[in-house]
Symmetry: C2
Subunit: 731 residues, 2 copies
C-alpha cells in the first residue's frame, strides 16, 4: 500500500510538473489537451517493440541493393499500413560499387599481405555469416592499382600536410596511410589526391576506437585488431546523393553523367584496413619520428617515411545501377492536410547495422505506430505526418537526396519541418538543427524524463554541460552533413532537426561486422530505454509541430545565435591577424629557425600574407535592424488570433528557412544553398556556420569574403522583410 | 685568402660585439680586462679533454662506495693538483643500501616472475659488464615482503588518489603500480604508504621515455623494453643527505639515528621495473578502465584494479655505512682570499653515468684546468675559487649535504655563490637560481655563442621561448631540489645557480645501464660542443663572480620576480575560491551526480570548504616599501667607490641570501630554511615559491597560511633593512 501511495504521489507531482510547462504555439485552451495527448503517446510506447523489430531488421546484412534490404523496406511499408498510414515504396536507380578486387601488400622490406577480413566472434551467428557480410571497403573509391613508397600522414587533414611540408616531405607519387577520425573519412583521399598521392589507406588506430579506449569486442565494446570501418568516400561536400545525377532525381530513365566524369568519385584508390593490417606497414616506415600529436596506440615508434616501406594497392569495383527503396508513409492531417511534418531515419546498413541505423529506425516505427493508433481513436494530428525509412544513406545520403530532389517543389510548398535520427544509445540528449526550432526543442526536452536519473533529459544534459565547465543554456548545435537531414536543410531549405541520445554508449563497432544485436544490447542501450526516450522526444516534437495553432518558430534565440556566429568570425579574423603579425615578426628575427633542431632539417616557416581589414558593417547593420524587428514580433501573441488568420501566418512561417537559402548556392558548390549552415569543404561532415564568409576567410580569399559578406547581408535583409510580413500577419 | 679575410672580419665583429657588452659589477676601466680574460679562457677550452675524461670516468660503474668511484675521486684530485689547486678528499660515512634480495612475482591469474634485468647491447663492452652493474632498485626503500592485489595508480601523485577516490577504489592493504614521471619518484611510495598501500612498484611506461617517444636503444636513444630507471626514494623533501645524521655531518664518529627511526627511509618496499616486466602485471588487472589521462603506451586496455592480479614483492638490502668521497679543490684569490666562489658537480653515478653526472663533471674539470692555467700566468682570480666533485649525490645529495652541514658556518661567512651543474647535452641554455643573480647570468648568456647556430645562447633560448608562444625576457627558474645546490641554497642560505644545456638530447637512458659513452656521444652531445659551451658559460660566471669589483647581485629583477610570485599566489587563491563556489553550486544542483554514468559507480564529489579571504596586505606593503628602497639602491654606482669601501659593501652583499632564510625553517621540515624557494612537500624536486604561504594554502591550512604571510613579511622587512645598509655602503 505504501508503495502504491508513493507511486500515486509521484504521478501527481510529475503531472503537475507537466501541466506547468510552457508550450509555444498553442493557445491557452489547447495546451492541456496537447499535453494530455503527449502523455497518452508516451504511455503507449513499448520497449519490446523496438527490441523485436531490431532483431527482425538487423538479422542479416542489408546494404542498398540486397534482397534483405528490399525485404526490410517491404516489411516496414506493411507495418506502416497496418497502423493506418498510406505507405508506399519510392525507388530510385543509383550507382553503387561492390568490391570485386581488394589487394594490399607490403612489398618491402618484409613482405606482408593484408588480411582485410574481420574474425567472427565465437558462438555468434551474425559475424559468422561469411560471404554474406559486405567486404570492407570505401564506397566510391575509384578503381585502380598503385605501387609506391608509403607515407604516414596522421589524420590526413589540412594541418597535417602543413606539418609534412615543414618536415620537407612530399606525398607526390606516394601512397599515404591515414588514421580514421580527425575529419570525415572522405576528406582523406580528396586531400591526398590534391597533394599528388596515388593511393590512400585508412586504418583504425587503437587509440581512437580500439584497446586504448577500452576492452575490445567481444570482451568489451571496442574495436578488436581485425575490425574494419567501412564507409563512403564520395565527395559529399560537393554534392551528396547519386554521383551520376547531381541535383535531380535518379529515376530509371534519368540522364546520367558518364562515370568517368562524376566529380564526387575519388581520384585515387582508397581502402580501409584494421590495425592488425596497419601494424606491419607502419612498423616498416623510417624517416622522421612522427610529431607527438600524430602518435597512436600501436606499440611502435611512429615514423613518417617516405618508405622504405613500399606497398601495392589494387581495387576493382562492380559499378552497378542499383535500386534504392525509400519507404514513405503518410497520415493525413485533420486541419492542415497540406502542411506536412516529416520524420525519418535510414534503413540501409553496411552490414547488420543494429546501431547504425536500426536503433534509430525502430524508434521511428514505434512513434508512427502509436501516432497511428491515437489517430484511429480520433486524435488525428492537425497537420499531415509523413514517416520515412531511407535507403542508401550509407553510400552518400542517396535515398533521401534523390527523393528530395524529386519532390523539391512540393516539399518547399508543404513541408513545415523534417526531424531526422540515425543511431541512438544510452546517455545524454543531443540535438542539432534550425535555430528557429531551438525554443520548441528546449520545451520538449523539459517534458521528457531521462530513464536513468528521473530528471528531465534537458536537466541531465545541462548537468553534463556544467560538470564539464560549460554553461547552463540549452542550445541546438548547427547542422553540417552526415545524415539524411542534409538534402532537406542544405538543399531544399526546410527547417530540420537531428536528434539522438548518446555519450554512454561508446564502442568501436561503427560500420564493422560487429554492429549487431548482441553488441547493441550489451553496450549501447540495454533494455532499449533510450530507444523509448528517443521515440518519446521525437514523437512529441512531431505532435507539437503537427498540432500547434501557430507553428512554433522562434526568432529571438535564432537571432542571438546568428549574432554569436558573426562575433565568432570577427574575433577569429582578429586573432588570426594578430597571429600573422607575431608570426611575421618571429620570422624576421629568425626565431623559428633558431629554435629548430638543426639535425631535424625542419624548414623554417615563411612569412604569411597580412590579413586585411574586412568590412563587416553590412552584417552588423542588417543584424541590428533584424534584432529590433524580432523584438517587435516576439511581443505579439498570435496564438489567440482567429484560425483563418493563423492559416496565413502559418503559411508564411513555413517559408522561413527558405528565406535563409539562396538558389545560387555556395561558391564552387551550388548544391549547398543554406546561408547559415554548410558542411565544411575540408571537414566533410563538420559544420561551418555562415559558410560563405567563414570559408572564404579561412581560405584567405579576401575578395570573396567581402562578396559573401554582402550576399549574407542581403539574406538578412530578406529575413527582415519576412519578419515584417510575420508581424503584419500576427496582428 | 678570401676565407681568411672573412674569418678575420668575423673575429673583429664578434670582438666588437663582446666589448660592447655590459657587465655588472666592474668599474669601467676593469671591464675590458675582464672580457679579455674571458676570451682567453674560452679560447683554451678543449672538447677533446671532455671526451677523454668521460671515457676515463665512465669506464666502469661507480656508485658511492665502489672502488672505481674512489679511484675517480683520487684521479680527479690529482688532476686539480696538477692545475695548481689545493685539492683534498673529504670523506663522510653514510648509510647506503645495496640490494641483496629483489623478487617480484605475479601470483595469479597467470604466474609471471619479473626479470629485473636489462639486456646488454650486442658488441657493447659497457652493458656487458654483468654483475659489476648495480642491480636496478630504489635506494632507501625499506626492507620488506608484501603480497596483495595490485592497483594501478597512474603517476601516484595526489590528484591520482583523488581520482581513485571518485572511483571508490582504496589502496589500503594493496600493492600499487605507478608510472615513473609526473613527480619526483620518491613521492610515489611516500603517498602510497600514507594511503595505506603495503608495497609500491614503479615502471617506465613507453609513452614517457620508450618507443612512443622515439626509436629505442641501441637503434635510437629511448628506453628499450628491458631498461630500468634506478633512483633514490629517500624522503628528501623532509631533509636530504645521510638518513641517520639529519642536519649535521656524517663523520666517522657522529651520533647516528637508529635505522628504524630514520624518517626519510620509505615505509613500504618499493621497486622499479621495466615495461617488459610491467606488461604482464598491468594486463592482468580488471576493474574500471583507467581514465584517459592515465593511459600509457603499452598495447593494452589499462585497467585500475584492484586485482584480480595478485603480486608478491620481496626486498632486502645490505645496509652499510659507506665512505663518500668529495673532492674539494681550492685556488686562493689574490685580493679577497676569504670570499669564495664555488663550482661543483657530482661524480658518483648509478651505473656508468656518462651523461649523469660525467657530462657535467668533465666540463667542471675543463673550467678548472683553464682557470688554473691562467692563474699560473698571473691571471689569478681576485676571489678564491673552489671546485667540488661530490660523491653520493644519487642516493640523496648526500656528499654535498654532509659537506655543507660540516662547513656551514665557514660557508656562510665566506661563500659568495655556488654554481652547480649535473648532466649536459645538446640544445638550449637553461638556468635556475637565486634571482639576485639573474641580471649577471643574462649578461653572461649574451657573451656565449651557441655552437650550432652562431648566435648567443641567450638569443637562441629567447627564440625558443618566442616560437613556443612565450615572451622575450630572460628569466632564471626557481630552484627546488634534485641536485647538489640544495644544501647550499635551501639550508645554508648561499646564493646558488644550476645551469646546463638540453632540449635536443632526449633519451631514455637516465639511471639505466645504457647511460654510457657510446649512447652519450651518439645522442646527447656528439663532439662535446655543448660540453665546451657549458664550461664557457659556467667559467665566465665563476670569473665574473671572482673578479667583480662589486659583487653582481641585482635587486630590481629580484623584486619583480618575488612580486610576480605573490601575484600568482593571490590569483590562484582567488581562482580556487571561484572554483570552490562553482563546485558547491554544482553539488547543490546535483550536476555531477546527474552527469555521471550510473553504470560506473562514480561517487559524486562532495561540497568543499569555502576558501576564506586571507590578509595579504603585510606582503603587499612590505614589498611596496622594498620596491622603493631598491629603486634608490639601483640608482647608485658603487663600482667607482674606493676599494676599501667596496670591501665592506661586498661583505654585506654576500649576506643577501641569508637574509632570505630563516633558521626556524618551514613548518614540519626545519632543514629547509629559504623563505622564497623550496621543493614541494608533495612534488619532491618541483619548486614551490614562497613555500610557507603557498603550501599552507594548497593544503587548506588557513591559519598557517596567515602565520606564514606574517613570517614572510618579516623576511621582506629584514630585506628592507639589508637594502638600507647596502645603500649606506654604496655611497
Amino acid at each position: 500500500m505504501i508503495q502504491k501511495f508513493i507511486t500515486l504521489t509521484l504521478v501527481l507531482l510529475l503531472s503537475l510538473g507537466t501541466y506547468a510547462q510552457s508550450i509555444t504555439g498553442f493557445k491557452p485552451e489547447n495546451k492541456a489537451a496537447q499535453l494530455e495527448l503527449e502523455a497518452q503517446f508516451e504511455s503507449r510506447l513499448k520497449a519490446e517493440n523496438l527490441d523485436a523489430w531490431m532483431q527482425r531488421l538487423a538479422a542479416e546484412p542489408h546494404w542498398v541493393g540486397t534482397d534483405y534490404g528490399k525485404k526490410n523496406a517491404e516489411w516496414m511499408a506493411e507495418q506502416f499500413r497496418s497502423w493506418g498510414y498510406d505507405a508506399k515504396i519510392e525507388t530510385y536507380h543509383i550507382l553503387f560499387p561492390y568490391p570485386k578486387v581488394r589487394e594490399l601488400e607490403l612489398l618491402s622490406p618484409d613482405p606482408y599481405t593484408a588480411k582485410l577480413t574481420a574474425v567472427p566472434v565465437e558462438g555468434d551467428p551474425y559475424t559468422a555469416q561469411g560471404d554474406a557480410l559486405l567486404p570492407s571497403y570505401n564506397a566510391f573509391s575509384t578503381d585502380g592499382e598503385a605501387e609506391a613508397e608509403l607515407v604516414f600522414v596522421n589524420y590526413g587533414i589540412p594541418q597535417d600536410y602543413e606539418e609534412l611540408e615543414k618536415m620537407g616531405i612530399d606525398v607526390k607519387g606516394k601512397i599515404v596511410i591515414a588514421k580514421y577520425y580527425g575529419s570525415w573519412r572522405g576528406i582523406k583521399p580528396k586531400l591526398a589526391a590534391e597533394k599528388g598521392a596515388i593511393g590512400c589507406i585508412i586504418y583504425s588506430d587503437p587509440e581512437d576506437d580500439g584497446y586504448v579506449r577500452g576492452d575490445v569486442y567481444p570482451e568489451g565494446a571496442f574495436k578488436n585488431k581485425t575490425g574494419v570501418q567501412r564507409g563512403s568516400v564520395m565527395d559529399m561536400p560537393l554534392y551528396p546523393g547519386d554521383v551520376l545525377t547531381p541535383g535531380y532525381a535518379a529515376k530509371k530513365d534519368a540522364k546520367r553523367l558518364d562515370r568517368k566524369d562524376a566529380p564526387t568519385i575519388t581520384k585515387i584508390p582508397v581502402l580501409p584496413i584494421s590495425y592488425e593490417d596497419a601494424l606491419p606497414l607502419l612498423s616498416a616506415l623510417k624517416g622522421p619520428v612522427a610529431p607527438n600529436a600524430w602518435k597512436g596506440g600501436l606499440p611502435i615508434t611512429y615514423h613518417v617515411g617516405p618508405g622504405p616501406a613500399k606497398v601495392r594497392i589494387k581495387l576493382e569495383f562492380d559499378w552497378k545501377i542499383t535500386p534504392a527503396h525509400n519507404v514513405i508513409a503518410k497520415l493525413e492531417g485533420s486541419t492542415y492536410p497540406d502542411q506536412w511534418v516529416m520524420r525519418g531515419n535510414h534503413h540501409d546498413a553496411w552490414v547488420h547495422g543494429a546501431n547504425d541505423p536500426v536503433s534509430g529506425m525502430v524508434a521511428v516505427m514505434e512513434e508512427a505506430r502509436v501516432i497511428g493508433e491515437l489517430a484511429k481513436q480520433g486524435k488525428r494530428p492537425k497537420r499531415t505526418v509523413v514517416y520515412a525509412a531511407w535507403d542508401a544513406e550509407e553510400p552518400g545520403l542517396i535515398g533521401s537526396t534523390e527523393w528530395v530532389e524529386d519532390h523539391e517543389k512540393e516539399l518547399q510548398a508543404k513541408l513545415v519541418a523534417y526531424i531526422n535520427t540515425d543511431s541512438n544509445g544510452r546517455g545524454f540528449f543531443g540535438a542539432g538543427g534550425s535555430h528557429t526550432l531551438q525554443a520548441m526543442v528546449s520545451e520538449v526536452a523539459d517534458a521528457v524524463t531521462d530513464p536513468q536519473t528521473g530528471v528531465s533529459i534537458k536537466e541531465r544534459r545541462i548537468a553534463r554541460q556544467l560538470a564539464g565547465g560549460g554553461n547552463a543554456s540549452f542550445e541546438l548545435s548547427a547542422l553540417g552533413s552526415g545524415s539524411d537531414y542534409t538534402p532537406f536543410i542544405q538543399h531544399a531549405g526546410i527547417a530540420s532537426l537531428n536528434i539522438g541520445f548518446g555519450g554512454e554508449n561508446a564502442g568501436g563497432e561503427y560500420h564493422t561486422i560487429y554492429d549487431t544485436y548482441p553488441h547493441y544490447t550489451r553496450f549501447k542501450d540495454p533494455g532499449f530505454n533510450y530507444g523509448v526516450a528517443l521515440a518519446n522526444t521525437a514523437g512529441r516534437i512531431v505532435l507539437r509541430m503537427a498540432n500547434a495553432d501557430v507553428l512554433p518558430f522562434e526568432f529571438k534565440q535564432w537571432h542571438a545565435t546568428v549574432e554569436g556566429y558573426l562575433k565568432e568570425i570577427m574575433e577569429e579574423t582578429e586573432n588570426r591577424r594578430k597571429e600573422v603579425k607575431r608570426h611575421n615578426e618571429l620570422v624576421d628575427r629568425k626565431a623559428y629557425a633558431l629554435a629548430a633542431d638543426p639535425r631535424e632539417n625542419i624548414a623554417p616557416p615563411k612569412k604569411k600574407e597580412e590579413i586585411p581589414y574586412l568590412d563587416f558593417s553590412p552584417l552588423q547593420n542588417s543584424l541590428a535592424t533584424l534584432g529590433d524587428r524580432i523584438a517587435e514580433l516576439e511581443a505579439l501573441s498570435p496564438e489567440s488570433l482567429p484560425v483563418e488568420k493563423q492559416k496565413s501566418l502559418n503559411a508564411a512561417l513555413q517559408e522561413t528557412e527558405q528565406v535563409l537559402t539562396d538558389m545560387t548556392g555556395l561558391p564552387r558548390r551550388p548544391w549547398f544553398r543554406h546561408r547559415l549552415y554548410a558542411p565544411g569543404f575540408y571537414t566533410g561532415y563538420g559544420v561551418k556556420t555562415l559558410p560563405g564568409v567563414r570559408e572564404a576567410i579561412e581560405q584567405e580569399n579576401w575578395k570573396e569574403a567581402q562578396e559573401q559578406i554582402e550576399l549574407l547581408a542581403e539574406t538578412f535583409k530578406r529575413m527582415d522583410q519576412h519578419i515584417v510580413n510575420l508581424i503584419r500577419l500576427s496582428k
